[in-house]
């Protein structure tokens, strides 16, 4: 089997691609709103502090409180050195069991054992390097949720300087729930994969979320199999 050689039927893929795009639009909507709020808050401020990020929380409270949308955590991650009173900082909020926004407490002190350098993590690196939005995952998000997660990030740029990323997390479980109706309706075995050929969701028990699908040449996939400009696509499994 070589998935990249088989073209899935458009009747099968179009509804799945639409469902993926809906999730992405919702998540990027949140990430973009955060980025805009942070850009506005930091503009013209040569020495911003954590307290200048106060606009982020009220923006997220209604989103995280709405169980009908898929984003379960979101916020701003500062580029190291941008904030005067914290070298490393995540202004990040996650939905708790009662649907309330709770501030994420992480170790921002590089000497602490729980500290992780996010400068090398793809959800941070790709927007910084490309200036473009990015979808990371599915991956085990050991920094924040400790769950299997998709993270949608956009760069935050103030006066031409990269200041961090605005981001939103969607649990793979929730993305899967949103994708299953269209995957089930498909007459053929298909899978949603990321740019590495890693499966996000499929309608086959032999190709599960997290597995790498051999033979996916992502860049060679035709546009009707791709989810816009995002590193996500639908491929045939049989």
């Amino acid at each position: 089997m070589n998935p990249s050689n088989t073209r899935p039927a458009v009747a099968d893929t179009a509804p799945v691609i639409a469902a993926v795009a809906t999730i992405a639009e919702q998540a990027f909507g949140v990430a973009t709103a955060i980025a805009a709020a942070v850009e506005q808050a930091l503009a013209g401020r040569p020495a911003p502090r954590r307290s200048d990020l106060a606009a982020v929380e009220p923006l997220l409270v209604p989103v995280l409180g709405d169980a009908a949308q898929p984003v379960q955590g979101a916020g701003f991650v500062a580029a190291p050195g941008v904030l005067q009173d914290a070298e490393w900082w995540l202004e990040w909020f996650a939905r708790d069991a009662d649907g309330r926004a709770q501030r994420l407490v992480t170790h921002s002190e590089p000497q602490a054992i729980g500290f992780y350098d996010y400068q090398h993590l793809p959800w941070y690196v790709v927007p910084r390097e490309t200036g473009q939005r990015h979808v990371t995952g599915p991956y085990v998000d050991y920094l924040c949720t400790e769950e299997y997660t998709l993270t949608f990030t956009v760069p935050v740029v103030v006066d031409g300087r990269f200041c961090g990323v605005g981001g939103a997390d969607v649990a793979v479980k929730n993305a899967e729930r949103a994708l299953l109706p269209s995957l089930r309706a498909s007459e053929h075995r298909i899978a949603v994969v990321n740019g590495f050929g890693r499966i996000l969701a499929s309608n086959s028990g032999r190709h599960l979320c997290g597995d790498l699908l051999d033979g996916v040449a992502f860049d060679a996939l035709p546009s009707e199999q791709r989810v816009g400009d995002l590193p996500l696509a639908v491929v045939a499994l049989d």
Partner: protein, 248 residues
Amino acid sequence: MTVPFYGRASAAVFSPLESMSRSELVVRRLTDAIALGLLPDAEQLPGELDLAGIFGVSTVTVREALSVLRSEGLIETRRGRGGGSFVRTPEDGISHLARRRLDGFGLGELRDLGDVYAAICGASAALAARRSSPEDVDRLERVADALEHAEKPDARRRADAQFHIEVAAAAQSPRLYHEEVNLQAEFGTLLWLAFGDDDSHAQMVRSCRAVVAAIAERDPHAARAAAEQRVADSTARLVDYQLSEARP
């Protein structure tokens, strides 16, 4: 109530949910966090009400646990404005805490703990070899570099912990990741009693490189074998360490 006989496994099903009391569990959780350095010296603990909420226990249980930690000298409680409970790392450092825990283990128990850790690390490495993207392999290599270049025992321990976590994450399994974190708290703290010097560090770096190489080659069998060997070597070193310590 009649308990139908399903064989010996039913004994485990119908045993108490946890063999320790709730306050003992809280004591152990906080002691492990202090021993791991997750709660550094002078760090203020959340208030009693918050702790009760976090652990899902009553404030009475929290108070019991805090009083045990206080009597062991691991926290200090100050009254009044700016008061609360603060972590006090023992003067001879966190290794003292780990040594105290190690005393409670028999050699066979250490072997058993090592077996479980090897199973988790082996399974993680084998899955990571099947599921790692080039990006994951880059990250593993970077952590291996960080481990090699770490000079102080503390930094070595941090890099080693991060390496194990990256392997579990590359396996794409949140559950293996959680097992890894729990075992690091339970067993990793003990292992580090016998590690940190240059000789053991060189061995750590070699075994870590072997795991990364097998994952990069996408060879699950070699990755599992290398990860299991790594834990087996560490366990052997810890058992030797305990044997060499003179104890009454």
